[in-house]
Symmetry: C2
Subunit: 198 residues, 2 copies
DNA sequence: CCTACCGATCGGTAGG
DNA sequence: CCTACCGATCGGTAGG
């Protein structure tokens, strides 16, 4: 049983190895384009062995997304309260992402697949985007209350647009890394919305 | 031979039916997730029959993208010279897209798959994005020369950002249509970049 | 354009 | 965790 397996160091390490392999494969081939055999091979076991740890292909995907959320939650705790500091944190995150294309590929590919309502990660992304927008909205709203947003800027729309801009830039950056300055473009967007540049 | 087939009305119509079916299926399942059998079924033939018109799966994809470019080229001819009129045309295009989710799904899914350099549509998207950015850049540059852009706005970055914003909004809109005002968000972006609102 | 077929690959199961 | 297997599905071909 997994509840038991989880408690033993060897099983935990194996699970982590499998998840790490899955992140890489999903990033390269998407979810539907990946096979359990490919993930298993990279983790050094057979695909039947993988199914001992994750009983179905969907269960593996769910575990990948769960782990990612857990990592994000840890980072959130280090977060500053809503305001300018949060925007600087976003830029730092973008810089981190540019140095880790694999994670960016995973999310870009999965998010596009998961627009289909019957995709196993669909509900995850509905929630993911909702939470991201709300969190960004709170920072922009605080800045607006302080008069730090340019007139005409709706904090709700600015929040949606920052998230969307970030996603869209990632697609073009992954497609043509040399032609797109991801971090610079995000900076200019924030500056175009703020009274005082970051 | 296709060069001949293309000349006969019946063959041309069949080809068009297959391409229309392919657009729908690619939008729902992506390219790698689609089967020739599914496309053929929707076109009312067998998958072997489809392969009589398009000899491989890749050839079908190439034809889908070719047709799309041909349609775009027709629209471009109706285009105004670079300037404010072009920005209004973009908004009109976004309104059209909101009424035709299938086309949006096709592009969103294919673009994400095609970030992989060995994807058969990779080169297409490299060119597609490059051309789109250049075209948008020319409009923003003209506006900048006329003093219609806010200070600090780089027309090159504004062009990149508009395209990226549009793509990113489409993902969130496809995921949660009721929670995202695609056209409104694009309008606010353009207004945030212009001295005088659109 | 179809019927009939091929080899390859897929997710999942049995049984140890 | 593995070996061995299952039924289903894939892109593509032969031959008409």
């Amino acid at each position: 049983m997994h509840a038991v397996e989880r408690g033993y160091p060897k099983g935990r390490i194996r699970r982590e190895d499998i998840l790490t392999a899955a992140v890489a494969v999903y990033g390269e081939a998407g979810y539907h384009g990946s096979s359990l055999r490919e993930v298993a091979k990279r983790a050094g076991i057979t695909h039947a062995g993988l199914l001992y740890y994750f009983p179905t292909k969907e269960a593996l995907l769910a575990a990948v997304l769960e782990r990612r959320d857990a990592e994000d939650a840890v980072r959130e705790q280090l977060n500053a309260p809503p305001g300018r500091e949060v925007l600087r944190h976003w830029i730092a995150l973008a810089e981190y992402n540019v140095a880790h294309p694999g994670i960016v590929e995973l999310y870009t590919r999965l998010a596009a697949e998961a627009v289909a309502p019957d995709h196993p990660a669909h509900d995850y992304f509905v929630r993911h985007y909702r939470i991201a927008r709300r969190s960004a909205y709170e920072s922009f709203r605080v800045l607006g209350d302080r008069g730090e947003l340019r007139p005409g800027v709706d904090p709700r729309v600015a929040a949606l647009n920052y998230m969307a801009l970030s996603d869209g830039l990632q697609v073009q950056w992954l497609t043509s890394p040399d032609e797109v300055d991801l971090v610079g473009a995000l900076r200019q967007y924030l500056d175009s919305v703020l009274v005082e540049p970051l």
